[in-house]
């Protein structure tokens, strides 16, 4: 049907449109998938041109007989070749103004928050770097302190490379591992539990490394020996 409409849009008359539909129907019958090899396509074009009556010199669909340019034959796309989208009508609103206003407000809120924090809080700026004077404890940035905490328990290769490496790969592969099609929390208790455990474990490690490790990276309570944490 689409083929017929397209042919008509090309300015062809009704008879040609019918011819195009016929050709499309033939193609559909032969190849249900709608995919044609270039040879099949060429054969179908020839067939279509012949069906117009004539020697293939078809001015009928807008291609001069001697022309090599056949791209206007797009009108012959079989219905099966057109991507079918089956989806329910969703409840939708216009991006402007509804979404863009929400985004603008959240952007302002974060911007103001950042500005206020930056105005009142100065991050630590210590003395000039000195390679000969190692502070005790030496800590990585906070988001790596979970890894540094692991160093207390495992060999550096395991703690610093194997665990984060395997962790990142499993995390990235989540979409391929998880075959459960449902997104409802009730149907995916295991996935949610596993991810929550990952988050909790990581948070606990980062907190332990950040707030409960003092000189020599030994365990200290912040209310006894103070904090050894710097952002």
């Amino acid at each position: 049907m689409a083929a017929a409409q397209a042919a008509r849009a090309e300015g062809a008359d009704a008879g040609e449109a019918a011819g195009a539909t016929q050709a499309a129907a033939v193609a559909t019958a032969e190849t249900p998938s709608g995919r044609l090899t270039p040879e099949q396509r060429a054969a179908r074009v020839q067939e279509s041109l012949k069906s117009k009556g004539g020697n293939g010199a078809a001015q009928s669909i807008g291609v001069p007989g001697t022309s090599e340019h056949t791209h206007r034959l797009l009108a012959l796309v079989p219905p099966a070749g057109i991507q079918q989208v089956h989806s329910k009508q969703a409840d939708k609103v216009y991006t402007w103004p509804h979404l863009l206003l929400v985004e603008f407000v959240s952007l302002l809120a974060v911007g103001v928050l950042l500005l206020i924090v930056s105005y009142f809080l100065d991050p630590i700026f210590r003395t000039l770097a000195n390679p000969n004077l190692t502070p005790n404890p030496s800590k990585a940035p906070w988001y790596f302190l979970g890894l540094q905490e692991l160093l207390r328990y495992f060999h550096p290769m395991v703690a610093g490379v194997t665990i984060p490496g395997v962790g990142l790969i499993i995390l990235g592969a989540a979409g391929y591992i998880d075959k459960n099609p449902s997104a409802k929390p009730d149907n995916r208790k295991f996935a949610n539990l596993a991810f929550t455990m990952f988050l909790v474990l990581w948070t606990v490690l980062v907190f332990a490394g950040s707030f409960f490790r003092g000189p020599g990276f030994n365990w200290v309570w912040p209310w006894q020996d103070g904090l050894f944490f710097e952002l």
């Binding site: 609103v93 991006t95 500005l115 000039l128 540094q148 290769m157 979409g175």
Partner: protein, 249 residues
């Protein structure tokens, strides 16, 4: 007034900037058509469709975390460019320009301290929001097909965010900076087979020194942001191609 407006809008230059149908070209009226055109006739159309699912507006569903992460990245780019005007990544005996420039930014440059603080706190906040964004996407099952590849891109972006923050950590060249980076790169050096080589290339030597500062600076201001922007583009594009934001549970 109308006459002046017409003169501004009715010339070759204005028309070359705003495409036919643009609301800036013909004036905005609050109709469905113009609401659609506001997104459609705009570079914005690459990010947002004309219409979005209504649940996408619910703050309790999206928390805007991806958008906030991107906004913070923009803020970090702008404040970072500002800081680059006053910073030289040079260290070494008697040429501790990096440290001196930091002191100058904090004490001498107009708004220097504020911008530096925004850059630093913004970086921490971005690591945090990217992490939360990941959690939100997971709990809504939005990493499932057809979005599984975009989730992979997201994990790459998380890694890049951490690396960007980490490379920036060294630049102040104070005691905190070099020792934190020493600890971090030590861990990296334990990678089997090529760990030591990678560490050597990153540090420009066997330990953190002036060469490390230059390498981390280039990675921080050029290499990693470039890679991140490329992946961001793919990330955003895939959101549109994979059917927009995920549906309600």
């Amino acid at each position: 007034m109308d006459d002046a407006k017409k003169r501004v809008q009715d010339n070759v230059i204005w028309k070359s900037i705003f495409r036919p149908g643009s609301i800036y070209r013909k004036g905005y009226r609050d109709t469905s058509r113009d609401r659609a055109l506001a997104a459609m006739n705009n570079v914005l159309y690459h990010l947002h469709p004309v219409k979005v699912k209504r649940h996408g507006l619910k703050l309790t569903y999206t928390y805007c975390l991806g958008g906030i992460s991107f906004f913070l990245f923009v803020v970090l780019t702008i404040t970072g460019i500002f800081l680059m005007f006053f910073y030289r990544p040079t260290a070494g005996a008697n040429t501790e320009l990096a440290y001196l420039d930091m002191r100058n930014i904090i004490a001498g440059v107009t708004f220097g301290n504020l911008v530096r603080n925004m850059h630093r706190w913004g970086a921490h906040l971005m690591v945090f929001t990217v992490f939360l964004h990941m959690a939100r996407v997971f709990y809504h099952g939005a990493y499932k097909p057809p979005r599984e590849f975009n989730w992979v891109v997201g994990v790459i972006l998380l890694t890049l965010t951490l690396l960007l923050s980490f490379t920036g950590y060294l630049l102040p060249w104070d005691q905190l900076a070099i020792w934190a980076v020493t600890v971090g790169t030590e861990m990296m050096g334990f990678t089997p087979v090529f760990g030591k080589q990678v560490q050597f290339v990153l540090l420009g030597g066997v330990e953190v020194g002036p060469e490390t500062l230059l390498r981390f600076y280039v990675m921080h201001v050029l290499l990693l942001p470039f890679v991140l922007v490329v992946f961001l583009a793919v990330h955003f594009w895939r959101i549109r191609k994979d059917g927009g934001i995920s549906g309600p549970l």
